[in-house]
Amino acid sequence: MMAFRDILRRNYKQVIYLALFLSLAVPLIYPIGLPVPIQRTTMGVYNKIEGLKPGDVAVVGSNIGAAIYAEVYPQYIAILEHLFRKDGVKVILVGHGQEAPIWAERALGEINAYGRKTYGVDFVHLGYIAGEEAAVAGLCRDIRALLKVDYKGRALADLPMMKNINTAKDFTIVLDFTASADSQYWLNQAYAAYGTAVGFGLTAIKVPDAYAYYTAGQIFGILESLSGAAQYEVLIRRPGMAAKGMDAQSLAHLLYVALLVLCNAFFIREWRGKK
């Protein structure tokens, strides 16, 4: 017993790491099936897309990368699936992150975009554009001055749907999927300059900032990390990776709460002892 307590005291880090690993791994292998409550920020995005009419243009920007794909990619797929179910809605995919085109093409493959819609008529992939905020500003002010070709090298002039789309005034909504401060770019360039409706799909760490924009009415909705993706999968009735992950989130969160409470319980005991 003493040896066990000794190991616990000396190797507490490894014990905690193992506990965290088990709290995440076990629910992934044996799902619990906890309910996923839908938040109003997610409903905001859903209702906006449901309200799109034939001829409306949805710009889907992204800065998805390997580091954050687990949080944002499930949201991205769910949103694209929803957009592709809307007849007549034009979708433009564009990336302002270096790995964005890879994830865009993967998502288009996963939802069978090329099989169910016509490229150049229903959707266009513009690829990655360097330049951070300047790239987004260039897209909002004059697409054809910035880009001559799409991601695959086809001339924009040859793509039927791009004939009537050239500035942010022609966009109906913009949805941006990112982890970093570049979520600000579409707000600054599309919303502030042209009044375009903007929504976000974000990693959890960026959600607090975005929520302030939401409560001020500057964005129409937010998909919050894996939880937002799980909620959206429920709304569009397309279960995916996100819904499975929420059980693991729950157990791991309980572990964190327990660790915080334990830490402070020991601290209070120490403090009382010194008194």
Partner: protein
């Protein structure tokens, strides 16, 4: 010579900024055209900037390999991987070709996500060891965090419906107050610093501190 170029750089900084700022305010067609060109030129320069990391790495790790410093095999691995990606990307002509996708999925995806995710483990051990409420402010932070964790995870509502409700109230209050104040502060701070850089009061961005 360097002094003349520094003045040219400062002049470009001032004039280009003013063109883009006035374009937003005045909506004049000529100004709009010039602003669009400046914007798109900056995008092109930004594209060249993507290669700077490679240049710097080749210089540094090349030196380590040539001097056979202690960790030189790792430097060789680094440069070899870089070359493999460059050759594959340029030879296949696309970063979404099956071959490029293969090396991306095998190398970048698992390592990047693992490196980012490791923080979860470090935060867990810090939660047990370091996050002590030594002051009233720290206590407020921790209590808020705990209720918000019950709001974020579905299990909060299963344990008791009151937990996510309290978390929601804290979340709404924090968003409408502290986060708002932070965003206003960031906006004013960026405006102040930006104007100082544009008019030349801050010299360091253009190397004035040398």
């Amino acid at each position: 010579m360097a002094g003349v170029w520094r003045r040219i750089a400062s002049a470009i900084l001032l004039i280009a900024s003013l063109v883009i700022l006035f374009d937003f305010a005045l909506r004049n067609p000529t100004l709009q055209s010039v602003a669009t060109d400046l914007n798109n030129w900056a995008v092109v320069v930004g594209a060249f900037a993507l290669g700077i990391g490679a240049y710097s790495l080749i210089l540094r790790h090349g030196r380590m390999i040539s001097k056979r410093s202690p960790l030189w095999p790792y430097s060789l691995l680094l440069l070899g991987t870089m070359l493999a990606f460059i050759v594959t990307g340029l030879a296949t002509g696309s970063i979404t070709s099956p071959q490029y996708n293969w090396i991306y999925t095998a190398i970048i995806m698992p390592i990047s996500s693992s490196l980012y995710g490791m923080n979860a483990f470090f935060i867990a051990s810090a939660s047990y060891r370091a996050f002590k409420a030594k002051s009233w402010e720290a206590l407020v932070l921790l209590v808020a965090a705990i209720f918000l964790m019950f709001k974020n995870a579905p299990i909060g509502g299963v344990i008791s419906p009151i937990l996510p409700q309290i978390g929601g109230i804290i979340w709404d209050f924090a968003a409408a107050t502290g986060m708002r104040a932070l965003l206003i502060g960031i906006g004013i701070g960026t405006l102040a610093l930006g104007l100082r850089v544009i008019v030349g009061q801050e010299k360091t961005p253009l190397g004035g501190a040398e």
